[in-house]
């Protein structure tokens, strides 16, 4: 009977291991409500407007502008950038494109999503999307894997009729991310997240003086330290199960602890 109870507990533990894995697949909670979502976009890497994940940022601009936003992404997240461009009433064919760059201004590939789309003549809006790769805690310097830090979004028209240049457009951008969890956990972590200007920012923090910064996603506000992943749970439960199975195997072969051919009264 004890064995069945032990096995029952083991199965329960197994279920728990699957629990967190399932919880991981839900979208991460948004950092803040839409209360003070930015209503403007920058026009270069330097002036990119900072947005949080889950915020619906809007901006008005002119056809032909290069609109920039930046957002933070942490280890284990797989960000999805969605953009909607509201086009003017009358226009010709226009091709819009969404590009994502990392904190080193390296272009990041999209796994899926319509990154470039052509709006037909007179179409009211274009919707673009880009699903990035999972952000890793560490990568070799020669790889351009996404690393935790600042990411830049650039939205622009890449092909247009000359007459459409400068016409007013509206843009909406939203970044959400899916937690991938331990499946993407790697060994090692960066000394500092890939936030541009972070060396200058941390020096200034020491001085107490604060100026304009390239990217204000700081070094200490809530970046994951990279040591936690659900691999601990999996491995821990595996170890417990192995121990239990070992006890089970031992009990099976050892029998009652006394060889049957030895009489009990010896």
């Amino acid at each position: 009977m004890r064995i069945t109870r032990v096995m029952g507990a083991a199965l329960l533990a197994l279920g728990l291991a699957a629990g967190p894995a399932a919880a991981d697949s839900s979208p991460s909670p948004s950092a803040s409500a839409d209360g003070d979502a930015p209503t403007r976009a920058g026009t270069s890497f330097r002036t990119a407007t900072e947005i949080d994940q889950g915020q619906q940022a809007t901006a008005s601009g002119s056809t032909g502008d290069y609109l920039y936003w930046s957002f933070p992404a942490d280890t284990g997240q797989r960000p999805t950038v969605r953009a909607t461009v509201k086009l003017p009433d009358a226009h010709g064919f226009e091709t819009w494109q969404l590009d994502v760059y990392d904190g080193l201004r390296r272009r990041q590939s999209c796994q899926y999503g319509a990154q470039t789309r052509t709006a037909a003549q007179g179409a009211g809006s274009v919707e673009l999307a880009c699903v990035l790769r999972t952000v890793r805690g560490w990568a070799e310097p020669w790889a351009n894997d996404p690393l935790p830090g600042t990411y830049y979004v650039r939205l622009t028209v890449v092909d247009l009729g000359a007459a459409d240049l400068g016409k007013p457009v509206g843009a909406e951008v939203r970044v959400d991310s899916k937690g991938i969890g331990g499946a993407a956990a790697v060994d090692g972590s960066l000394g500092k997240p890939l936030v541009p200007g972070i060396a200058v920012t941390s020096e200034e923090d020491k001085d107490g003086a604060k100026g304009a910064v390239l990217s204000s996603f700081g070094s200490d506000d809530g970046w994951s330290s990279g040591w936690w992943s659900d691999r601990w749970v999996w491995t821990g439960i595996g170890a417990v199960l192995a121990a239990l199975a070992g006890i089970g195997g031992y009990v099976l072969t050892r029998g009652s602890g006394r060889p049957s051919r030895v009489p009990p009264n010896v």
Partner: protein
């Protein structure tokens, strides 16, 4: 049973919280800065064509005046605003005279709204459209200070003072000053005006807007003035060399330079053992270029060995092409190990479209960060840990076999002991 369920639910919630509890980095808002005040100059075309009645039934001039009044009311306190006109005074036909006709209507400085509005009210559409000379003067007006500088040019026609190409003028201005942007607005523009104004905007990294309605004009100008008020990091001008030995040594920061077509730029950075060098570069195309382009950033040792490179290529319409690299220098056992000089080489493969001047060089922006290096790396998996059902199955199987063996061994041992 109930107790066990509750316990299970509790443990489950705890584990879920631990696993999914990767906190988001909260974006802190940039603080107010004590940098020099941002300066903006509005440059308004007051040429004869501004009399045309085609903006919401009123004249272009009326629309511009209304927009200016609204913008002056909404200008942020810290912005130093000035107004310059072009073609406001000279009525004659002499081109030479007409092309000198640009006047500072309201000087760049702390804003007195009443004075500025009174000055705007006196304007009447008059003369020529000397855009080039007006831009040159406007750049002079904005001289001095460390803040951002922005010119907002509102015009309804192309420059009538050839051969001075305002587009080249804009490029020269941008090459001379740092952080100066020209945004242009075309009032009901024709194709030529549009081309010229968008060329001026592109030359300085500014924006071009096509205005057909009053509201659009005041909204846009207001937005541009507000944008000038936002704190932005001002890059430091530097001049890269054509080879590493002569290159300037850079520390962490943001730098700007000009690189001619087909020209290499070299910079040096000192990296201590255990530190990581991060560099990114963007090269902007501030004029018409061929549609295929690229940029290469290489980190090279003093002896010429390439450590790591970043490269990017692209095709089609773009503002910049950018790339970056990371070089973590390993820890050294020797405490007195000297800093290593890493040479950074930047090359871009933009080629100018036919008939486009190749001087000044293309604007180049370089960020350098030297930070603490990454922690050691030993395994593809975090701490060498595993996950998944295969791992559990393997562990259970091995554990079971080990138990069997151990049980069998102990039984055998007891049997041997008994027999003896």
């Amino acid at each position: 049973m109930i107790r066990r369920q509750r316990l299970a639910a509790g443990v489950c919630a705890l584990l879920a919280a631990l696993t999914a509890g990767i906190a988001f980095p909260a974006g802190a808002v940039a603080d107010e800065t004590d940098q020099a005040a941002p300066k903006v100059e509005l440059v308004l075309d007051v040429s004869g064509s501004m009399r045309t009645r085609d903006i919401d039934g009123g004249t272009r001039m009326a629309a511009a005046k209304q927009a200016f009044n609204e913008v002056l009311d909404a200008t942020p306190e810290e912005v130093q605003l000035g107004i310059r006109t072009l073609g406001a005074n000279y009525r004659g036909d002499d081109r030479k005279e007409g092309c000198k006709d640009t006047e500072q209507l309201y000087p760049v400085g702390p804003l007195n709204r009443t004075d500025a509005k009174t000055a705007v009210a006196t304007l009447a559409p008059t003369g020529w459209t000397p855009i080039g000379p007006a831009l040159l003067k406007a750049a002079d007006d904005l001289n001095g200070g460390d803040g951002t500088r922005r010119i907002v040019l509102i015009s309804d026609g192309e420059d009538t003072c050839q051969p001075l190409d305002p587009c080249e003028v804009a490029r020269e201005i941008a090459a001379k000053g740092i952080g100066l942007t020209i945004d242009t607005l075309g009032l009901v523009p024709d194709a030529k005006t549009r081309d010229q104004l968008s060329c001026i905007a592109d030359a300085t990294g500014g924006t071009y807007t096509d205005v057909r309605h009053k509201e659009e004009l005041s909204d846009r100008v207001g937005e541009l003035v507000d944008r000038a008020a936002e704190p932005v990091v001002t890059p430091v001008a530097t001049e890269g060399a054509d080879r590493c030995e002569k290159a300037p040594t850079l520390k962490s920061g943001l730098y700007t330079d000009r690189a001619g077509f087909g020209q290499q730029r070299w910079y040096k950075v000192d990296v201590e053992p255990g530190q990581e060098l991060r560099a990114s570069v963007s090269v902007a195309d501030d004029r018409a270029v061929q549609p295929n382009y690229g940029v290469l950033l290489r980190a090279v040792t003093a002896h010429g060995r390439e450590i790591v490179r970043g490269e990017a290529a692209g095709t089609g319409r773009t503002d910049v092409v950018s790339t970056g690299l990371r070089y973590p220098r390993p820890e050294s056992d020797d405490d007195a190990a000297p800093a290593e000089t890493v040479c950074l080489q930047v090359t871009s493969s933009f080629s100018a479209a036919s008939g486009v001047k190749t001087t000044p060089g293309l604007p180049l922006e370089l960020t350098v960060d030297v930070v603490d290096g990454p922690s050691g790396h030993h395994d593809v998996a975090a701490f060498g840990l595993g996950r998944g059902w295969w791992l559990l199955g393997t562990l259970v199987l091995i554990g079971f076999l080990a138990g069997l063996l151990w049980g069998w061994l102990s039984r055998w041992r007891v049997a041997v002991w008994r027999t003896n």
